[in-house]
Point group: C2
Chain length 638, copies 2
């Protein structure tokens, strides 16, 4: 097949590719980083490049204007090479480090009464072996096993070939005195992770790792005490290849995509590992970090392990594996002790992953007589309802509206995002708070909830989300995209353009909140449990942490329950991983939680669509479900 | 440090090495194969090369004449690079394929009453899974486990990351019908080796591999029937880096030596695997060969696995590991299914290895009421004495005399070796038989035993091994190396030189046979068991197969027992590996044998030296121990 040369202006490297190669593939081969938030589906238009010499065949020009095309612009993920071409790559959108990262790094205290000696399965044993002699020619490995049995009560340990190869030298280096690092599980065959010459006070570290679709978080833990030494988060570098799990699955299913996804998330994790080790002056992570407990949604875990995730996306939506076997750092590519054990927390279903099992553990709802509703709201809303006696769970595909996607001026909760809004009942003039106290750039999830509630209570929108254009204010108007409300005039904003919310945006937000409300109400109905009998609402995830509950209730996202019944738990996923890392009983409890959570598939439930439709209003078709909102409306209008 | 260029005339490749590099190391870097039978100790002189430009610093010139040195010859393993040099590499001695190889390939019959369904731990299961649906969203791995449990009674199987990565695709390829290949041990966690789409009559093969110091043997086995499909042997390619285990350990302990030893034996094994698969038309060994059972002496197993073997050589002579863990083919580099299980048979001590455990199993002496003496005579003589009730074992360092080393005209049992000799009692003229029926080149082990017995019975040597120079024959004479006897005149030989046995050779042979005789007699004495009470002598190893028992008794190598009590078993090591491969009870029995054999360290036994000294005569100081020899002597002299 004919080969053509593709030259990118951002790199010296030209690549030769056969006819029919996608520009995104050519870019990958040339090491040119192109953002592909939709995973190469041709939906987002963010991978547009300019063809400056030669032409490409465009399969789709969605989101490109006729003028763009005339200027040579093409969607890299939809354009095919057929001759030699030169490509100009516009500056790629850079991920700005999230301000909230530091805000979410809460102080973590060791659980009360925690005793590492009984709880921690990693053990450090000082052994003194009887040296071999002509009267005792036992081989080294049996000699070591004898000492492990006598001094540590360890029976039938497992040893790797790598450790067998260096064992003899280590045993002899300090006259048959060694320090053994073991993981006492699984029984009956505990794992010998490392062996060091002499009796050394060697530090032992572990990692709790939470792989979020958006954010990866790593905690460094002293395994000898249980103490969290450092925390760090950053964007999951897979974002440039898809913003949501579906886009990433699609990208990963393409040629080379799976490897790239794996490398991207590994580079995120390894960078964070380096950072937490530097923060804590951990000099040699390749020897001291001997275990990692990993959590995340099912797609994130599959992509990390290089396991195809396609079946998660396609009906009937099953994972390849909910409980991966214990692996080693070398097997998956973590930059710590190569023999470090990698414990992936078990998940429940395609859209109720390890992050939820870990979240339930850290919420303690599984250990309580009180019936709790646990919610982790992000791109998907995962919901668990139950108590000590029973647990049911479901996932609702809320879409990424609360993460700022699908909303004209939506953005993530970073510097410049409006996160809280108040609207004057008389003048319809807004006041707002911006993250980082800079000029606003857009609206993040908590800002959107706040905005929608205020607009509803002040009558700017009605219960159907229709913008009232007859109000005595220039803030409501008929814009390019239909009716809209202006939150900030161009003179106040970073871009110089007005920040608005449109009728289309409002519809997207209504659909997202309706999916979540319908989710937990159908879940409760499915087991005959009345919503109002919920005694506690536990909200996990960093997003949840900044929701104004009152406003979330006012738009009908959360059930109308008394204030004091809501609890914000922050990143329950990484907290659960931490607890599982330091305490084998907590780890066993997570397995138990994952095993006994009954998963309810909403798309198979006939009542879901009806519940969803009823929830597409502010706050709901049935205002009786929201007595506090009814009271507030009465007060406003009085 | 300064670098110098070393050029070898046998390759275009020049290498740059720092000052002080050994020529052998430079040769290794230049991919030049240099024989080093002594492992680079400077003892054998076989790595001599000629320096044709520049000079090297010679640490030793042992075995080089002054003339050799004047002509630029140097021992590569003892010469150091200090400037640019050019090296002429003389043609390297080629290993000629042993004729005996084909002779030792005995017909192997499946044990009577063998039932693969109960005996073979490898199982092929046909599974039909219920496809996932919205009502049953169980993940793939749990779905597969459910089918394994229901259709195969398999609980808690282990799966590798590699298999997890392709599992989903395989399950769906033929509509949730798959063929699973499992190893039902260890309990309680059997190993899932492979998964294939559809219900396929896939062949399953295994290998029994015996790594001898000299010869590597591979048997290909149909695991579904137990049948041996093909056998092949060849020299262990490590021979070029040391003829005996000690030389190899020394070589392996040098820089890069361990890797090289591993590569050499792997190339031997992989070549044989290819050969047996070709013989049996096994098309895809990377998928059908799913297990290998490996035996060999302790040094061979350590070198194969890349585990340092130094401690085997040094007092108190302990191995790193007598029972390696189960490994995979990918881990050690065998060219079969990457997930194939590698089962290394357990050994007992540094010089009583897996070959002896396997040998005892295949001899069945451990399962008999009869007390047997089992001997495997090669470079080392390994001896086991016992029965169903008890087993004791020892190793005696006989040295390689019976393999033709340390004997002026000694050679291995290949084409041109004199393997049997008869001497006329009146004329002292010999008659002999040569392997391959060609002109003789030298004397192999069985020929040496035969020769020594004949010389003794005809009075050419006395009981002390002294050559009688006063006999009326030109065959005895005072040669360059002292008194000698001429077996073949130069006119009859390949080289044109006389083939002789010297007084020095005879001393070496006496020491070798005395070590073995002293070995089993001290072993018997150590447990108070009289030698004459031995009911059966079992001789293993391909060497043993060609010994003339009568003559071996006459020189005092074997105990003087009735003819019918001797049994020649051939390669008991590979036979034991084969039995362990096809029968899990046989495998368990080997572990039991290795566990209950009591090892007696001869060098720690005070009576050994006395027994050795008494045995340095023909047949022994105490002729009463050899009544049949006393009778033969009486007859000859009558």
């Amino acid at each position: 097949m004919a080969e053509h040369t593709v030259t990118f202006d951002v790199t010296e490297k030209a690549v030769a590719v056969p006819t029919g190669t996608l520009l995104t593939e050519a870019a990958r081969l040339a090491d040119v980083a192109l953002n592909q938030p939709c995973g190469g589906q041709g939906r987002c238009g963010r991978c547009a490049v300019q063809v400056t010499a030669g032409t490409v065949r465009r399969r789709s020009t969605l989101r490109l204007s006729a003028e763009d095309v005339a200027q040579g612009y093409a969607l890299a993920c939809q354009s095919v090479v057929e001759e030699d071409v030169a490509i100009h790559v516009p500056p790629q959108e850079q991920l700005e480090r999230r301000l909230t990262t530091d805000r979410t790094a809460a102080e973590v205290t060791i659980p009360a009464g925690y005793d590492p000696l009984t709880a921690q399965p990693i053990r450090r044993l000082y052994l003194t072996l009887t040296p071999p002699s002509m009267d005792d020619q036992t081989d080294d490995w049996n000699r070591l096993q004898r000492a492990l049995r006598q001094d540590g009560g360890i029976e039938s340990p497992q040893i790797s070939l790598a450790l067998l190869r260096k064992m003899g030298r280590i045993l002899r280096q300090d006259d048959w005195r060694v320090t053994a690092v073991l993981h006492t599980e699984p029984t009956p065959s505990p794992i010998l992770i490392d062996l060091l010459p002499g009796h050394v006070d060697v530090p032992l570290h572990g990692l709790a790792i939470d792989i979020g679709t958006t954010t990866v978080t790593v905690w460094l833990v002293n395994l000898l005490t249980g103490q969290v030494l450092a925390q760090a988060s950053e964007y999951n570098r897979q974002i440039q290849r898809g913003e949501d799990v579906i886009s990433r699955i699609i990208y990963a299913s393409k040629n080379g995509g799976s490897n790239e996804m794996q490398e991207l998330v590994l580079s995120s994790i390894n960078t964070l590992i380096e950072r937490v080790c530097q923060k804590s002056a951990v000099a040699n992570r390749q020897s001291s970090v001997v275990k990692a407990t990993i959590t995340g949604n099912s797609t994130m875990i599959h992509l990390l392990l290089g396991i195809p995730a396609e079946s998660i996306r396609l009906s009937p939506f099953v994972t390849a594996v909910n409980q991966p076997p214990t692996l080693t750092a070398a097997e998956i590519g973590l930059d710590i002790h190569p023999a470090a054990l990698i414990d992936c927390i078990p998940g429940v279903a395609s859209y109720v992953g390890a992050d939820i099992s870990a979240g339930v553990l850290s919420s303690s709802m599984d250990d309580s007589d009180i019936t709790s509703l646990f919610m982790d709201v992000g791109t998907n809303g995962e919901i668990v309802l139950g108590s000590h006696d029973w647990l049911v769970t479901c996932a609702c595909s809320a879409g990424p509206a609360f993460e700022g996607a699908g909303v004209l001026d939506g953005m993530r909760a970073t510097r410049g995002a409006i996160e809280e809004i108040w609207i004057n009942n008389d003048t319809y003039e807004p006041a707002y708070r911006v993250i980082g106290e800079v000029k606003p750039r857009g609206l993040c999830g908590s800002g959107l909830i706040s905005l929608l509630a205020e607009m509803f209570l002040t009558g700017i929108v009605d219960k159907g989300g229709n913008v009232n254009l007859t109000l005595p204010t220039t803030r409501t108007r008929l814009g390019e995209h239909g009716p809209e409300y202006v939150i900030a005039w161009g003179s106040e904003t970073q871009s110089g353009k007005d920040i608005v919310i449109t009728r289309v945006d409002i519809d997207n937000l209504l659909r997202a909140k309706a999916a979540i409300y319908a989710g937990f109400s159908v879940l409760a109905t499915s087991i005959g449990f009345p919503l109002e009998a919920i005694e506690r609402v536990l909200i996990g995830g960093s997003f949840g942490k900044y929701i104004n509950v009152e406003k979330a209730v006012q738009i009908g996202l959360l059930p109308d329950l008394p204030w004091e019944q809501f609890h914000f738990l922050g990143n329950t996923s990484v907290l659960g991983a931490y607890l599982a890392l330091i305490d084998q009983q907590a780890r066993a409890r997570i397995a138990d939680i994952a095993g006994r959570m009954t998963y309810v598939e909403l798309s198979a439930d006939n009542s879901f669509y009806e519940a969803f439709t009823s929830a597409l209003f502010l706050p709901h078709t049935d205002l009786h479900r929201f007595p506090s909102v009814a009271a507030a409306l009465a007060q406003e209008s009085s």
